[in-house]
Symmetry: C2
Subunit: 119 residues, 2 copies
Amino acid sequence: MSKSAVSVSATEAVACCSPLTAEPLSAASAARIAPLLKALADPVRLRLMSLVASHQDGEACVCDLNDAFDLTQPTISHHLKVLHEVGLLDRAKRGVWVYYRVNDDALGDLASLLGGGVR
Amino acid sequence: MSKSAVSVSATEAVACCSPLTAEPLSAASAARIAPLLKALADPVRLRLMSLVASHQDGEACVCDLNDAFDLTQPTISHHLKVLHEVGLLDRAKRGVWVYYRVNDDALGDLASLLGGGVR
DNA sequence: GACAGACATCGACCTGCGTCAAGATAGACA
DNA sequence: TGTCTATCTTGACGCAGGTCGATGTCTGTC
């Protein structure tokens, strides 16, 4: 699987040479990774990820997230959808409420790509 | 020209903040970090970073980078400028040629933010 | 069955970004 | 000094993306 460009063994990643710096990225790999970064490259979505991740039990209800921003509910819903579509957030509907949870694997892979995460 | 010192220290921008999953990110912190991610959130710039980092001696000339893409030289120059302005790439002009080098601290701090790694 | 609340989707507006062609700048060399 | 080469800057175009108001869908309650 070509995903190896992203999910490189974290133990091999050293401070001096992260996967990104180890060898030239192929155009295909770059095209696959860029959307993940683009999804994170927004202040609102960055805070959403952080809010969800640091929330109790690691998951947060949309109603909680709405209150943290001066934005309308559709806008928050849109940002959550973007994060969900790239795989950074998982969705779970329980009754009337919808809960979001951070996908640690996806986030970890990105960290490995940039700097190796483990130092 | 007097506007050569546009670039900010990417290290300062990130170093202030704890990992994404530890506690909610402030709006100010998110606004500082998002531009860094946005600079990386482009397939061309992702490959440029990778090409520069994995090049001999860790630095690459613009002429080398142009050949790796089906884009015009001004477009490559534009992308390099974006990466330089957020502090992800360092610039050095020697004679006619301009060499770019990856700022490892900036990349490492981004990775720490995403992966929760403590330095 | 009808109503109310939580969340998603749709359509529209406006800003920002990637790209290119053309011109400008700076160092090297005769 | 003048010319050549390598690179950067400017201006313009088209498209993608963030935001909002209005509307739709689903679930639980009376």
